[in-house]
């Protein structure tokens, strides 16, 4: 009897362990790993994690203060009520590439869909696989705090008409693979221009002044010019200096950055492969310069 009971317990434990594995193994492990990398490279963690030491990554709730009001990032874990539980691949693809929620409402461009629109099909699928592999966290986030003229999301429709150009990234055949990889990371996945490219009064980034910096950044502080201009930008930095900055957050003069960029280094660029950091440096050294 006792032996039977013991083997039953063992069997039960085994069944539970297997069920757990089965639930986790629903996604192809390669895609999950690739998605984990892309989510780090895409800066998702930085905005979608509350600014508290014990916050669960990607469970949302971070306040993003902008000249247009305070936005609270949504919960990206697969919780049914408060997160992305029940989302299909198509839902995620529409959100990332078009800025449209499953219910058809539009996201404010505080969510960088104007940059993510360039993501490749494989990257979108891998991001979905990784997000679904996360442990669901039940966490509702506050409503955005916005001025009256943004109280209707129909405003976004008008904004999109003026400022949003949907479309996949198209490599430039006249440039090197490293340059193209860097362009993909900077313009799309890493969305550097969201902070570093100046915007007009409607908040639309000026494509002719890509990465030229702005006096009013997300911290209320100045966002530097990171074009290859030797005076206003980082044209005097060597490629190695750019790479070291992205890896350690250290400036060529030995100072370490803080504020928003400090978070970007910690959550995003320090987690990239050395090749990807080098690709970003290759691309940045071309911005604002004749090819």
């Amino acid at each position: 009897m006792r032996r039977a009971l013991r083997s039953l317990t063992t069997l039960l434990a085994l069944a539970i362990a297997l069920a757990g594995t089965a639930a986790r193994a629903a996604e192809p492990p390669d895609a999950v790993e690739r998605g984990r990398y892309l989510v780090a490279a895409g800066g998702c963690v930085t905005c979608h994690t509350a600014d508290q030491p014990d916050a669960t990554p990607l469970s949302g709730g971070r306040a993003l203060e902008t000249p247009f009001g305070t936005f609270y990032s949504p919960n990206l874990t697969p919780d049914e009520g408060t997160g992305l539980g029940g989302w299909t691949d198509q839902d995620l693809e529409r959100a990332l590439r078009e800025g449209v929620a499953p219910d058809g409402s539009r996201y404010f461009p505080a969510f960088p869909y104007p940059a993510y629109t360039g993501l490749s099909d494989e990257d979108v699928a891998a991001i979905g696989a990784y997000l679904r592999s996360l442990r669901p966290v039940r966490q509702a986030v506050p409503e955005h705090e916005l001025p009256w003229y943004l109280s209707s999301r129909r405003v976004i429709w008008a904004w999109n008409l003026a400022g949003f150009r949907p479309g996949r990234f198209v490599p430039d055949g006249s440039r090197s693979p490293a340059w193209n990889r860097g362009a993909y990371l900077v313009r799309h996945l890493g969305h550097c221009g969201e902070c570093h490219t100046p915007r007009n009064l409607l908040g639309i980034p000026d494509p002719r002044r890509e990465l030229a910096g702005t006096p009013a950044g997300p911290d209320g502080g100045k966002v530097p010019d990171i074009t290859a201009d030797p005076e206003s930008g980082i044209g005097r930095w060597s490629a190695d200096e750019i790479v070291m900055f992205l890896e350690y957050g250290v400036l060529p003069d030995g100072d370490f950055v803080g504020a928003s960029m400090g978070d970007v280094i910690t959550d995003n660029t320090s987690r990239l492969t050395a090749d990807d950091r080098a690709a970003i440096a290759t691309y940045l050294r071309s911005v604002g310069r004749a090819p």
């Binding site: 100045k222 190695d240 350690y248 957050g249 250290v250 003069d253 030995g254 803080g258 978070d263």
Partner: protein, 151 residues
Amino acid sequence: MRPRLLPALVAITALALPALATSATAPADAIKYRKAVMSAMSDHVSAFMLINFGKVEHQAHLLPHARALADLGAQSKVLFPAGTDSGDTDALPLIWQEQERFGKLAADLESASARLRDAVAANDKAGTMAAFKALGESCKGCHDRYRKADD
């Protein structure tokens, strides 16, 4: 009465002198000193990187820079006396409201810079890079939360 009072006064004055000397440090000077030490640390980091990443020779200078960083890193906790939260400084008042959290970051700087010095002294390349990363994390962690963003 009078003859006894004088030695007592002298004694009290003598005891009070060091305290007076300390409190006589003007906050503005304490801030200037803090900035000088911070700037010295960043110069050592910059020099350290130039050698460590093979941009210049001077291998023999690597240890002096690492030692200086460890010595100065150990000082960071005394660079933020009360009353130095305003004036010509980017240090945010939050430092003095979160002494425990701030103190932990200062301790991280001290231990990371000590590890860097020890790894360089032992000619341990991998350990040097790991300690440099930890040093950067402590600098960045503090600047993230407690230094005013550029304006």
